[in-house]
Amino acid sequence: MKDNRIYIYGFGNPGRQDDGLGPAIIDRLEQDNIAGIITDSNYQLNIEDAHNISQSDVVIFVDASIDAEEPFTFKRIEPSNEITFTTHSMAPESVIALSKEIYDKDIEAYVMAIRGYEWEFNEKFSQKAAHNFNEAYIFLTGKIKELLV
């Protein structure tokens, strides 16, 4: 696979403890200078992300989860047109659905849901979330290598 065809997108609020797991994964990937990927992060997904991911073949969304299996889950997702009733966020399934409709792009998409536990105004992860983060990061870098082959 060519470089930059894998888009890793972490989302969440780094100011709310474990909610920042997704953006922290992106920070770590950038610190480790992992090659061949596009990294991005934001508070939440929204409609412009349909455009942002449309140049890639594979997208991996990384987010904290209140109820995922520990330490994390990694699942393939399919497009879905279910939409929330506010402008405040979109689900990963909706983003790839929008990308498909606008750009005729079938993107291979995954969600990595890292289990979180605490959500207060703090930038430090809970102890268990920090453990889950490490497990998730090891898995993710392995997955990236696999996809780049």
Partner: protein
């Protein structure tokens, strides 16, 4: 048998909103109420923190309008560091902040129209809910969906260029800004490859307005009679009465247009606005002191701003404003669906302001920060996309925050949203034996016009954004709907 209908967006941390509609035995609405439970801990959280951290810290409050909190806090701290208010900053400092702010307005208003409003307009309130959303718009009106996506993206990129980054930007600091706009960035926003340039954004903004006006011409009865109720309106205006979303004085008008708050300095907001605390809600209830708790509530946001200001200081938006004001003979507009119309006029205005700012060479200058004699207290007020946002801080001799007070637009709009929901519930539900998805959607449409912020600061997977539950008077669930 009386019935109770509940529409409940559930977020998994501190906040949620729900609508409860109580029906009597004849299926007539006896009461409806929108409950918004908003996290109030932040004002405690900032206490003891160094004041210069606050503009960055407040972005933790909200993932959808962090720029508004960032700028309101920075404006309050401008006063504390002795830089004064509004025009007290260096030209580069103020104009960079304005660019950030109008970039936020542009992306937020575009998002609201294309994501929330256009599906209802294109497919109707009773349209198939499976396609009555932005993806349905993409399926049947791809050009419109592309415009929504790219307009949002353009605004987001302006925010990134002025605030430094998308998450927890640091652009605004007490007394000014920490970066200017490079010539290369300016050229990209002015003359970037199609469609990401300002002339295209202005053209698309005009197109969105024409789309709405076309719909309005064909559906005037619906637009003019959906959730109509008299209200007072409040917003910032420039000292000469112009619409100004970043800085000005506080003005309010009553339902007939008479000024009831006459251009009050923002630093004096607490003399004219009080907040009531009620035992059953975390939310505060702001009201105009001169009118009192019962009748002193007011509306904020796009409808209010165009009811309060005298004119719009950009030519294309001013022309639209004149046509809009003519609909009510210059009197305040109380039609909730006209919120969309007002929002689109502001969208066009924002694009015009962005263009004017991009052409201003002050953005490339290097005098970014101004400071003066330190003060102990400061108030910063901006018009956020959803309405007037107040930040108020006091600091001690050690530069620590000792008091923080915030009034966010959703709290000001609490009473108006309740009235809108009540109006729609009575017209949609009265005498009906069954609750249809279209009826539920009408209630949501009333709420969507205001686009309330429901404690959106966290967004981990697993949350359930909307649940509609229908229960009878004995508490038995008749129906549940989820979105």
């Amino acid at each position: 048998m009386g019935r109770k209908i509940t529409i409940e967006p559930v977020t998994r941390i501190e906040g949620h909103g729900k609508v409860t509609i109580q029906l009597d035995d004849s299926n007539n609405v006896t009461q409806s109420r929108l409950h918004v439970v908003e996290f109030r801990g932040f004002e405690k959280f900032v206490q003891g923190r160094p004041y210069w951290e606050v503009p960055a810290l407040v972005q933790r409050l909200c993932g959808i309008c962090p720029v508004s909190h960032h700028l309101a806090a920075a404006k309050a701290l401008d006063v504390i560091v002795g830089a004064g208010t509004g025009h007290g900053l260096t030209p580069t400092g103020e104009k960079m902040r304005r660019l950030m702010h109008y970039g936020q307005f542009f992306q937020s208003h575009a998002l609201h129209f294309f994501h929330l409003a256009s599906p209802d307009l294109l497919f109707g309130a009773d349209g198939d809910p499976a396609i009555r959303n932005v993806i349905g718009v993409a399926l049947e009106h791809k050009d419109l969906a592309v415009q929504g996506v790219m307009m949002r993206k353009y605004g987001q990129e302006i925010i990134q260029a002025t605030a430094g980054k998308k998450v927890h930007g640091t652009g605004a600091i007490p007394g000014g800004i920490n970066k200017n706009l490079s010539a290369a960035e300016r050229d990209t926003f002015l003359k970037g490859a199609d469609p990401l340039n300002i002339d295209k954004m202005i053209a698309w903004s005009q197109g969105a307005l024409e789309f709405f006006k076309g719909y309005y011409a064909k559906n005037k009865d619906f637009i003019d009679n959906f959730a109509v109720f008299p209200s007072s309106h409040l917003s910032l205006v420039r000292k000469d009465g112009a619409l100004d979303l970043y800085h000005g004085v506080l003005r309010a008008v009553d339902s007939e247009g008479k000024k009831i708050l006459n251009d009050v300095d923002c630093q004096d907001y607490a003399k004219v606005i009080a907040e009531e605390v009620k035992s059953w809600s975390y939310m505060k209830f702001p009201y105009l002191r001169s009118i009192g708790k019962e009748k002193g509530w007011y509306t904020v946001g796009p409808l209010a701003r165009l009811n309060v200001c005298d004119f719009i200081p950009t030519p294309l938006a001013q022309k639209e404003f004149e046509a809009y004001k003519a609909l009510t003979n210059g009197k305040p507009n109380h039609m909730s669906m006209h919120m969309h119309y007002a929002r689109l006029i502001e969208l066009l205005h924002s694009a015009e302001v962005i263009k004017d700012l991009l052409k201003d060479s002050d953005l490339q200058k290097k005098d970014l920060v101004k400071k003066g004699k330190k003060q102990k207290e400061g108030v910063g007020i901006v018009e956020a996309p959803r309405g007037t946002l107040f930040h108020h801080y006091r600091v001690n001799a050690d530069d620590q925050v000792t008091m923080g007070n915030l009034i966010v637009s959703t709290t000001s709009n609490n009473e108006p949203m309740n009235r809108a929901v009540n109006f729609v519930a009575k017209s949609a539900f009265n005498g009906k034996k069954e609750v249809t998805e279209g009826m539920m959607n009408r209630v949501e449409m009333a709420i969507r016009a205001y686009d309330p912020c429901l404690s959106c600061a966290t967004h981990a997977l697993g949350q359930m954004p909307l649940e509609v539950t229908l229960v009878d008077s004995k508490g038995a669930v008749i129906d549940t709907r989820r979105k």
